[in-house]
């Protein structure tokens, strides 16, 4: 249907509507009133309930611990310049991990071959724009050098989060940084590992996305 005809029809629907009164929107704050807490501590507690892990302290030691646990494997990582820990990628390579290229070609055929190369990567290494203490979530934004797939296809996702980017709740971040959302093609809130409870309501991790999510705090 033509856009104008469609919208005219909608308008005629509204004119017949008996909607409850809809006042103009309250311009007041949209942030929920929540108790003051230690943000890092709260973040870690909530993330743990979601089967994710928050690493505070020496970030390099945290990365080495993760690699020691799973052994070397293919890595899909953001470019160094987008990571708040300059030698993070290097740590993986030093431990015997091979890095996969994250740039997906536009052509159908090349796309197939390329994505096939990293659909079974073990590690994904990304930065994080923000963290939400209340929900244990991180915000990850796409862009050049910041492939979306790095936080999606690996079994183990490691996100590097600067400590001064932890916000009280999603709305505390969004009301300050709402414009950042649409400035890129994809902004995702990641709240723990991929999960499903479709079969008999039993929780299973890693159904399509990562089975492990490690948030490493960078001071």
């Amino acid at each position: 249907m033509e856009r104008d005809a469609f919208l005219t029809r909608v308008r005629s629907g509204i004119s017949g509507a008996t909607l409850p009164p809809a006042p103009e929107l309250d311009p007041g704050p949209l942030t929920p009133e929540l108790a003051d807490v230690d943000l890092v501590e709260r973040f870690g507690t909530v993330l743990a309930t979601l089967d994710g892990t928050l690493h505070t302290g020496d970030p390099r030691a945290a990365i080495e611990e993760i690699i020691a646990h799973h052994g070397p494997g293919p890595l899909l990582a953001w470019d160094d310049e987008h990571l708040p820990l300059p030698d993070a990628v290097h740590r993986f390579l030093q431990s015997g991990c091979a890095r996969t290229d994250g740039v997906v070609p536009h052509s159908a055929e090349k796309r197939l071959t390329h994505q096939g190369g990293y659909f079974d990567v073990l590690y994904g290494l990304t930065g994080a724009e923000a963290g939400f203490a209340e929900t244990g979530s991180i915000v990850v934004r796409s862009g050049p050098g910041r492939p979306r797939m790095a936080s999606l296809v690996p079994l183990v996702h490691i996100a590097l989060l600067p400590s001064d980017r932890i916000f009280r709740s999603p709305m505390h971040w969004l009301t300050e940084h709402g414009a950042d959302v649409a400035a890129v093609a994809n902004t995702v809130y990641i709240t723990g590992p991929s999960r499903t409870a479709d079969i008999e309501q039993r929780l299973e991790l890693g159904v399509h996305g990562p089975r492990e999510v490690h948030v490493v705090v960078i001071e």
């Binding site: 249907m1 050049p144 797939m149 709305m171």
Partner: protein, 464 residues
């Protein structure tokens, strides 16, 4: 919509293993929701905000849809306005044709079920694969989803194991962990080859053209990232003014649906992949679907369009928990479906839906948009009653009642429980009554009267 009635389908479902599983699942979700709400002191304030934003948007829907379309186009996306299911399906087929698509992946979406997109695309020669684990099971088996957010509440793990063994050629397994792994491996190969991804839209922000798609599994992200083309299909009422308003919706959606403070992946998409981006789709289309919504908007029950599709009213509904989702006969079950379906798809064959409710009010208690579903159902009941024909099955028992009530001797005899009690089952319910009572008990059980009638009791205790 099938030709059977709600009461026929409901009566068949009561006591079945499938309905029992849906009931158990729903009770589990009720507990999870309650815990999440307890842990979030701002819930009531946010629900007020949600209602305000939703009603405001609906009152200016044409303007917000125009803004939204402009914003999507400014971000490099395409917008199509579909008056009905056929227009939506034809457009999506056209996009697939131009992109040379053969294999299409989908992430769970109610509106695509409403418009029966899969059938239309298959008729056009495309292969469609549902990627939400529950929907994947539904599709493989040819079954239908029984719950908005948990489509296979009615399946056991053994049934899934046999299905996978039969359909995917894998060894039988019945541990959810193994079943999950089988699905992950199988669907990864599909995602890799898929040309086009189709998703629903949980919410859309008019000012930026951003759409939100929430999934727990991550299939929503793979569907909208791996293929070359992404088509997002949305009911026209999904829009809100800004990204911040969209954030307010997210504050209540996960908590109300599954007791999660946020769903695992909240995917916010603004247009296709940007010129220097590493990955993401080259093309992005949004299909805005009316398909009867304008009629709902102009109806006395228009408030129902404020629904955010969390499913909380289904879980809390004693009728839904007893009969399961299929008895409702349409894509949208439970209290919200009983309001929406008759207006969206027509009253015919749906006259009973407004009565599939005890008016207990629990759905209003939990609705994150505070939609007054009980009042809307009463409104629809009035209209069904005024139409006059829908409840012909009730005429004969009512005639019987009228006859007995106006003939004192007959009345006394008929309410003398001793003459009837022998027919009741051990629970004190009649499952089958003779003569005129038969019509009533063909659709519901009747509680057996007390063995001693009130008249007899009064006479004995108070003399006369």
């Amino acid at each position: 919509m099938t030709t059977s009635t709600f009461s026929e389908r409901g009566a068949a479902a009561v006591g079945s293993a499938a309905a029992a599983a849906v009931g158990d699942g729903a009770r589990h979700l009720i507990e999870k929701r309650a815990a999440a709400v307890d842990a979030y002191p701002a819930m009531d304030a946010m629900r007020d905000r949600v209602r305000e934003i939703r009603l405001h948007t609906l009152a200016h829907l044409d303007a917000y849809l125009a803004d939204f379309a402009d914003s999507v186009e400014a971000a490099g996306g395409h917008v199509f306005f579909a008056a009905d299911a056929d227009e939506a399906n034809a457009y999506i087929l056209g996009v697939a044709g131009e992109a040379g698509a053969e294999l299409v992946v989908k992430s769970k979406s109610m509106v695509t079920e409403e418009i029966e997109l899969n059938g239309a695309l298959e008729a056009g020669g495309l292969t469609i694969v549902e990627t939400d684990l529950g929907e994947f099971i539904v599709q493989l088996s040819g079954d239908r989803p029984s719950h908005i957010v948990a489509p296979v509440l009615h399946w056991t793990k053994e049934q899934v194991g046999h299905l996978f063994a039969d359909q995917l050629g894998v060894p039988y397994a019945d541990e959810p962990t193994e079943l999950n792994q089988i699905a992950r491996t199988h669907l990864r190969r599909i995602f890799l080859r898929a040309d086009m991804g189709i998703s629903g839209v949980n919410f859309a922000a008019a000012s930026t053209g951003t759409i939100a798609i929430v999934t727990n599994e991550g299939n929503g992200r793979l569907t909208t990232t791996a293929p070359r083309v992404h088509v997002a299909v949305m009911g026209m009422e999904r829009v809100v003014p800004t990204v911040e308003d969209l954030g307010v919706m997210l504050e209540v959606l996960g908590r109300s649906a599954t007791g999660q403070s946020l769903t695992t992946y909240t995917n916010l998409i603004t247009g296709p992949r940007r010129p220097d981006d590493d990955d993401g789709p080259d093309e992005f289309h949004v299909v805005i679907v009316d398909n009867g919504r304008t009629a709902v908007l102009g109806d006395e029950v228009s408030e129902v369009l404020a629904c955010i599709r969390c499913g909380a009213c289904l879980n809390i509904c004693p009728v839904y928990r007893t009969v399961g989702g299929h008895a409702y006969g349409d894509v949208y079950p439970g209290p919200v479906g009983s309001v929406l379906s008759p207006i969206l798809f027509g009253f015919e064959g749906r006259e009973e839906l407004p009565y599939a409710c005890t008016l207990c009010g629990a759905c209003l208690e939990v609705c994150p948009a505070r939609i007054d579903l009980p009042s809307l159902l009463v409104n629809l009941r009035e209209r069904v009653a005024q139409e006059g024909t829908a409840f012909s099955w009730l005429d004969r028992p009512l005639d019987a009642y009228e006859f007995a009530a106006t003939h004192p001797t007959m009345w006394t005899a008929s309410i003398d429980g001793a003459s009837l009690a022998g027919r009741a089952n051990r629970g004190g319910w009649f499952k089958r009554l003779p003569w005129r009572g038969k019509t009533w008990t063909s659709v519901r059980n009747l509680p057996a009267p007390a063995v001693t009638s009130f008249r007899r009791w009064w006479k004995k205790h108070h003399g006369a």
